[in-house]
Subunit: 336 residues, 2 copies
DNA sequence: TCTATTAACGGAAACGTTTGAAATACTTGG
DNA sequence: CCAAGTATTTCAAACGTTTCCGTTAATAGA
């Protein structure tokens, strides 16, 4: 690998000058800067990331904290897409991304935060299904810039999907279709679940739609089996709803199967809506009526915010950015 | 951050001794090593990854090269799962992973290989849909340890799924069910497509099953729309097959929709098989008969091989490791 | 012409490690 | 009790940068 020194001897200047020239400092003449930049290019010079980081404490590396209880990790389409756009935006700004978790190093267990310190990441994005773990708290309370996705902490900037208004839009559509007997299956207790339920509740009361306790079930996100069971349970009651809100699109597949197995069909006998707008939901027939989260914007915004936090710490305030999604009218809701 | 020096002054020894003690060198007495290790723990010491890397040229970072033409990236379930298990295994061994691609740094375009050099990754895993790009060649021809997934280069160890025998197994099952009029839709030209077609061809000839050119179509992997069109085309012929091999499970969804739209049903009127064994395929009803690739083993094996290549360069030979998958009998193939 | 100012560049320390060689301290056998 | 050997520890250089500060050269003002 060619170093600053190599360039300096070739051009007969000091390494200090080379460094300054390449980094665009002002105290180097235009003539020499041009010459240095040129030979650096000729010799195929690239800065040594380690040496630079050692000196400057900046690695241009962003840590991604990325956990879900089921260990599905990247398989989770929402996270995968968000990460994808996050990565793209970060790379555009010259940052690389590294996965961060708790791990063993040299026989000693290292918390996620310690891991971040060890790798000297410049910033951290947290996208978890569970924000209540000690590992998350330690990172939140640390002194590395953090952006959270779909969860809000005090004093930390967050990028959140508009879960509340998204759910409102869904309910309004369903209500517009004439439904009043509506069941709601939600995912595990979390900030996201709370928000969605709030939107559902708000829209229902505005519409004068009764929320029956026995039609308000709590299950798991992204768990088709679980949703299958819960849907089955709903369908066994003497009175059944005309429309079911599934926890999310993926889980909805289980729900739809339960409906099918009960000898009913969507949307003729019963209607269903999902949440997320994952690719598969639009490949079903009928297409699932759902609310598509704007994952490209969420990821890119998180990256931009995080980088801004890193590069001008004082000019950026912690804020909460809500990203709107888009209602997708499929064919899974019958117009009564 | 507490450094070796901090520990050394606290214990009244030199930094060299501390370094050696913590790294398990032999030339330090048991008493002092114990003392040093203990105070290191007490003081919350972690090595500075940059400084260490600068000195040793080992970063304990693995680069992941991960491209597909459609830009689906992590959304591709096969890759997502492989990456997940790769990551898990790598972390177990103390390595972190960083995404590597071509990017701009300091205004100059950096090739993927240069990016690897810049970050000093210890090894690279390549999992692409297209292995024919200059970027891939540059990495392959470089001097950083490499493991490829699902593609074989000379002199580079590769972990490949058993595409050939997997496809054979599928065909044999279908043939056992009594099918002889079989269509085959394959994905884009690639090592994987070649292997699968080879398996299909081999098994067909062994069984005496004719491969009709007009029933052998080439489309895209993971492209439901494309498969929808191709399936529709197949169904428009005067004579239609009794079973269709879809490029993969995801694409199969398009094919299944085409069948449904043609007023036919699976498996009563026509049978279908997929490939991959993605989660969704087993949520359809009927479940898709397919061949599940062992993504956990593929990823973990790739990580183990790569790390072995890094840690004992001479004792490890480049090899090709084939990972078996598993036949999944769904309900999408009718027994004639 | 002389001094003050500015522009351009170099010296050198520092970041936190690792490591071979040198130095010191301990054993042990004769 | 000494020499030779071994066990333990320290020195110091090195990895490739960045950056503060000092130095020289050039320019301008008087």
């Amino acid at each position: 690998m060619v170093s600053l020194k190599d360039i300096s001897v070739r051009c007969g200047v000091s390494v200090a000058t080379v460094s300054k020239a390449l980094n665009g400092h002002k105290d180097v003449s235009e003539a020499t800067r041009e010459k240095l930049v040129r030979t650096a290019r000729e010799m195929g010079y690239f800065p040594n990331a380690q040496a630079r980081a050692l000196k400057t404490n900046r690695t241009f590396n962003l840590g991604v904290m990325f956990l879900d209880e089921a260990g599905r990790g990247l398989t989770h389409e929402f996270f995968a897409k968000v990460l994808n756009s996050f990565k793209t935006e970060a790379e555009r700004a010259g940052y690389d991304i590294t996965f961060i978790s708790n791990k063993d190093i040299g026989g000693r267990r290292m918390s996620t935060y310690e891991h971040c310190k060890y790798r000297s990441v410049d910033g951290i994005v947290i996208a978890c299904t569970d924000f209540t773990t000690p590992d998350v708290f330690e990172v939140i309370n640390g002194d590395i810039p953090v952006v959270t996705i779909d969860h809000i902490f005090d004093c930390r900037t967050a990028v959140v999907s508009n879960n509340e208004s998204g759910m409102e839009k869904l309910l309004n559509y369903v209500a517009d279709c004439g439904h009043t007997k509506i069941a709601y299956i939600q995912g595990k207790r979390s900030a996201v679940a709370e928000k969605r339920l709030a939107g559902f509740w708000k829209a229902c009361t505005a519409r004068g739609i009764e929320i029956r306790p026995d039609w308000l079930l709590t299950g798991d996100y992204c768990n088709p089996d679980n949703t299958y069971q819960l849907t089955k349970k709903l369908l066994k009651n003497k009175e059944i709803p005309t429309c079911i809100f599934m926890p999310d699109d993926y889980a909805a597949i289980g729900g739809l199967n339960a409906i099918k197995d009960a000898g009913l069909s969507v949307p003729e006998d019963i209607s269903a809506v999902g949440y997320d707008g994952i690719a598969y939901s639009q490949l079903l027939s009928p297409k699932l009526t759902t609310y598509s989260q704007d994952t490209p914007t969420i990821g890119a915004t998180a990256a931009k915010q995080l980088i801004s936090l890193i590069e001008n710490p004082r000019s950026t305030f912690t804020e909460v950015i809500t990203v709107d999604g888009q209602f997708l009218e499929g064919g899974s809701v019958k117009k009564l």
